[in-house]
């Protein structure tokens, strides 16, 4: 649920500047810089959120491994 929501949000956020900006803004020479700012910003935030979710998955794996090894010891 959270993953789907995040993906949808990522698509919307990446498309929004292009959709909103194309018809409205003057001074197009600076547009690549403006889009680069938003691109870098969002790629970084999604990249960081992905890094946190990977860490969480690794932790879960380690906890499971520890759980099974303690069970093995208990069962002799």
């Amino acid at each position: 649920m959270t993953k789907r929501f995040t993906t949808l949000l990522a698509i919307l956020i990446f498309l929004a500047p292009a959709m909103l900006g194309s018809s409205h803004i003057e001074g197009e020479a600076y547009l690549p810089f403006l889009f680069a700012v938003f691109g870098v910003l969002w790629l970084s935030f999604f990249g960081y959120a992905y890094f946190i979710s990977r860490k969480q998955a690794d932790l879960k794996r380690e906890i499971d491994a520890l759980h099974y090894s303690t069970k093995d010891v208990e069962n002799g």
């Binding site: 500047p17 810089f33 700012v37 910003l41 303690t70």
Partner: protein, 224 residues
Amino acid sequence: MLGRLTLLGISSTLMMLTLGMVFLWVPTDEVLGISQRIFYVHVPVAMVGFLAFGVVVIGSVGYLWKKSERMDALAYASAEIGVVFTSLMLITGMLWAKPVWGVWWTWSPQLTTSLILWFIYTAYLMLRSYSPQGGQGARYAAVMGIIGFLDVPIVYMAAKWWRDVHPQAVIGPLANEGTLEGKMIVSFLMGLLAFTALFTYLLAERYSVRRQESILERLQYSYD
């Protein structure tokens, strides 16, 4: 207490509103033109980075005072997010400098002190990653986190204290009145609110992971 999914929803909604305001609603600056729209993300990102380092100080003082692992986890999580925000402040600043000043980087006081701030908290994270959780490493890092924060007011004051190509503060106690007109202030505050909400969400997630890491490390230690 707000759930993390609620926080994500709030920050996403505020981000979409900020995007709409920056691209559709706010007027184009007469002097800087369209490139001035970078201001609505560059300055809030910088301010939230400072806020993150403020939280590092709170967590570090809490850890040194009460020896609370929760406070240590809060300081670590906030430092990591602060470095992400400060990196983005430097990158978005460079992307703004190129069209306006004609160069990607200049060693002006405000830029240099900002880079020093980034180095301080990157060193903080390196210190943490090379030392085991808790104990001496955490104590040294807490002291470093507190002393490192002294650079934040220097960054803010740099443009006033020294001659600087970087614009003076447009918000806060040093700002001149009437620097920003109504719609610009509203868009700026919306951006600030959106990035603060995003910071809160990321902090909640990272803090929770850091706490789990500490607990797991302790369990592994006692199991061995």
